[in-house]
């Protein structure tokens, strides 16, 4: 048998959570309440019941401390944690420019049916830092 081998590699695999997401879930950086917060928000996804609460301490227009509390699926948790990491030491304006796409890139992607986790975190971010 001298048959050729088929060599094309599969491109589209349905991987659930990226390594980045798993690591965030594992470490839960910046988790918990921030008593000294200057800006907070609590956003709930009415469909799946996920809740995210973000806490920011802003000094001189810069986020100097950030925390989160999330009840929900790994996507929502990782996205919220990521937002607290991405905002630290950035100006409020810069934070408000953070998009779902940038967040998703940072997270190494999310499964299609879990994208709402990233949207929840961005919503919470905007609702906390938006000038009222």
């Amino acid at each position: 048998m001298k048959c050729r081998r088929f060599t094309e590699r599969p491109s589209e695999r349905e991987i659930l959570y990226s390594d980045k997401v798993k690591q965030l879930i594992q470490e839960l950086p910046n988790r918990g309440k921030l008593e000294a917060a200057t800006h907070t928000s609590r956003v709930e996804n009415p469909v799946c019941g996920d809740i995210t609460q973000l806490y920011f301490r802003v000094e001189n227009d810069s986020v100097v401390e950030s925390r989160f509390q999330t009840y929900g699926c790994p996507a929502a948790i990782a996205a919220s944690a990521a937002v607290t990491l991405l905002c630290r030491d950035h100006s409020v304006k810069e934070c408000l420019e953070l998009t779902t796409d940038t967040l998703l890139k940072y997270l190494g992607g999310l499964p299609a049916h879990k994208l709402h986790g990233a949207e929840l975190a961005i919503d919470a971010l905007r609702s906390a830092l938006r000038p009222s």
Binding site: Y17, V21, K22, Q23, I25, Q26, L28, R31, G32, K33, R42, V47, C48, G49, D50, I51, T52, Q53, F68, Q69, T70, Y71, G72, C73, P74, I77, P111, H113
Partner: protein
């Protein structure tokens, strides 16, 4: 350390099962319907496996129909009985905590003109016999109630339900995918008419299962084609799979004591220690009528999937709901049917053991879990609010 505690989703294969299958992957690859020696060796292996499956559940070999798994066996039982006996009546009784293979088949049969009553369960997941009795109508042709529930491990009073069915001349099917090989299952003692089992839940291969059909039971097949399986199920026999299922059943027959002893001990240790070490916990299921290898626990104020991913990071595999419904955001239909609200349902974790688990795996879980739960609760907006 790798600790696999998701044995209700699927089990690791027993190396002896793999060994027997390999023979048919490598040498005896024949089609069991062929007349030549290759075929006859395959045929002999299939019939030997049939005997082993039958022996495990107290059936006659000729009452065993091999299928591609539990799902196909459930579909065959329900649709096969329903369509054959349609002239007698069009009403089916089942309950709210069945596996989707039963529930969704029933829903489809409803679309095709059958009536289905979904009897509720109590808050420990036991079917209420009174409700079941009341649901019976003159046109009821089939009752289907699972033996052991896959999510919470509850054991249904299948023998009593079978008696009620018999008294009313109604055929009775039980999905025993999660009981066969774990607790004693004897079709003659239970007096069921049809029973579903699946290979990959008992250290056998995926893609093979069996339907017990009591001799004399008349029904339609689901798959039409060649005259395989006494015309009950067409399709070239999956010889290695069937051989693997047979071997798995043979091994399981010798391991029932192990489940009642060692596996139950491990499950109880896991459960008691979690209860002792972690506050704000709810046990799901009936502690008395429960298979020895399952524990379903709600960790309040957190959502199960995050916990699952955290445990996975530590090498521990568990499940949040029925494996097959993962990916969907709905809370488990079983816990919902047991009256758990969505917070309690989504905080549920299923630990399911097998005869391959050992004590130090449970110890590792018990060391690992409390810290993770603490960290996750620290992060939960519900937890702070509740304190």
């Amino acid at each position: 350390m790798q600790v696999y505690l998701d044995n209700n989703a699927t089990t690791p294969l027993d190396p002896e099962v793999v060994e027997e299958m390999l023979k048919h992957f490598r040498d005896d690859f024949g089609n069991a319907s062929s007349i030549h020696s290759y075929g006859q060796r395959a045929r002999a292996a299939v019939e030997e496996a049939r005997q082993k499956v039958a022996a495990l559940i107290g059936a006659q070999p000729r009452e065993i129909v091999f299928t591609s798994g539990g799902t196909e066996a459930d579909n065959t039982a329900l649709r096969g009985i329903a369509t054959w006996h349609r002239k007698k009546g069009n009403h089916i009784i089942t309950n709210t905590i069945e596996h989707p293979a039963v529930l969704r088949t029933c829903q489809q049969l409803e679309k095709e003109g059958f009536q289905v009553t979904y009897v509720p369960v109590d808050n420990q997941g036991i079917v209420r016999l009174e409700d079941l009795r009341k649901a019976i109508k003159p046109q009821t042709i089939l009752i289907s109630v699972m033996h052991v529930n896959n999510e919470v491990g509850t054991i249904q009073p299948v023998d009593e339900i079978a008696r009620i069915a018999r008294e009313n001349k109604i055929l009775f099917h039980t999905d025993a995918v999660q009981s066969v090989g774990k607790i004693k299952v004897d079709v003659k003692a239970l007096r069921v008419d049809l029973l579903t089992l699946s290979g990959h839940k008992i250290h056998g291969p995926k893609g093979v299962g069996a339907l017990y059909v009591r001799q004399g039971t008349r029904m339609n097949p689901l798959l039409y084609g060649g005259s395989h399986e006494r015309n009950r199920r067409a399709g070239t026999e999956n010889v290695p799979g069937i051989v693997g299922l047979g071997k798995a059943c043979e091994l399981a027959a010798g391991c029932l004591d192990d489940f009642q002893g060692r596996v139950r001990f491990l499950r109880d240790k896991l459960e008691t220690e979690i209860l002792r070490r972690i506050p704000d916990i709810v046990l799901n299921g009936n502690p008395n009528f429960r298979a020895p290898h399952v524990s379903n626990i709600t960790f309040r104020y957190i959502e199960g999937e995050g916990l699952l991913v955290s445990l996975d990071f530590k090498g521990i595999a568990v499940s949040t709901g029925a494996a097959c419904s993962s990916g969907s955001v709905e809370p488990s239909h079983v816990l919902t049917a047991m009256g758990r609200n969505s917070e309690l349902a989504s905080g549920a974790i299923r630990f399911s053991l097998s005869r391959m688990n050992i004590e130090k795996e449970v110890d590792y879980l018990l060391e690992t879990l409390p810290g993770i739960i603490d960290r996750m609760r620290e992060m939960s907006p519900l937890y702070r609010a509740a304190k």
